[in-house]
């Protein structure tokens, strides 16, 4: 799976308005819902599913990256968003570090492999030297999209 399969220009948030974990998740869900014109499920229900997942164990997987994800009934494909936080978000990440880069992934309930492939895509990229650094330094949405595109081309 490529970034372009689940993150599009419209769901890239250059600077998140919020710093609180739940507020950030809500902001990203609202973005996905508005871009894809999803009427159901309700924002609150999706946020609740994502927060419930966070309670089991943080999706802050290190390198300042978090991958909040949940399975959402009614979806046919994986829908994602990317958001940046300059100040960093307290995500209770495994390495304790604040999170600056958030990849929110909403997956269809019956497609466990799609969820894994989206997580694979993110994890493959963030272990590459400079990927996170470039994402943090990108000046605008265009540059962020370009970094994803380049990463898609470099990894099969």
């Amino acid at each position: 799976m490529k970034f372009s399969d689940f993150i599009i220009r419209g769901t890239v948030i250059k600077e998140l308005k919020n710093n609180d974990k739940k507020d950030v998740i809500q902001e990203m869900v609202e973005t996905i819902k508005s871009v894809y014109k999803l009427t159901t499920p309700k924002t609150a229900e999706i946020v609740e599913a994502l927060m419930k997942r966070e309670k089991i164990g943080s999706t802050g997987i290190g390198h300042g990256v978090a991958v909040p994800h949940a399975k959402i009934p009614g979806l046919k494909t994986v829908l994602g968003a990317f958001g940046r936080s300059r100040d960093g978000i307290d995500f209770n990440a495994i390495d304790g570090a604040p999170v600056n880069l958030v990849f929110t992934i909403l997956a269809p309930p019956d497609r466990a492999e799609a969820n894994l492939q989206a997580l694979q895509r993110v994890s493959q990229s963030i272990r590459q030297a400079n990927f996170c650094k470039f994402l943090k330094e990108a000046k605008d949405i265009k540059e962020i999209v370009e970094i994803f595109k380049e990463s898609d081309e470099n990894i099969k």
């Binding site: 997942r53 495994i94 969820n115 894994l116 994890s123």
Partner: protein, 103 residues
Amino acid sequence: MQLEKDVKITNKLGIHVRPASRIADTANKFKSKITFIKDGFEVNARSIIELLTLAAGQNTAIKIKSEGEDAEAALQAIVNLIESNFEEKNNGNKKRDRGFTGD
């Protein structure tokens, strides 16, 4: 000491974030180096991010390599964890209320 074992991932959702963090936690408890190999691709089991790059779904065959003084205990702990389906209570057999799940 170096040991190897072939296992199959049996939990319904495969090695997603939570199982990956369980594996990494377990691997970090031992001195031995634990390596997961899928289709010839090797990753360090101490790293969640490395494990996630495998995208190992249900029924994926994995070779686990354990190298070090406590290789046997380390390998056994990892195999036990996989065979327990990562203690996921719900492996899709039960009906979930409203279908919202965060795995």
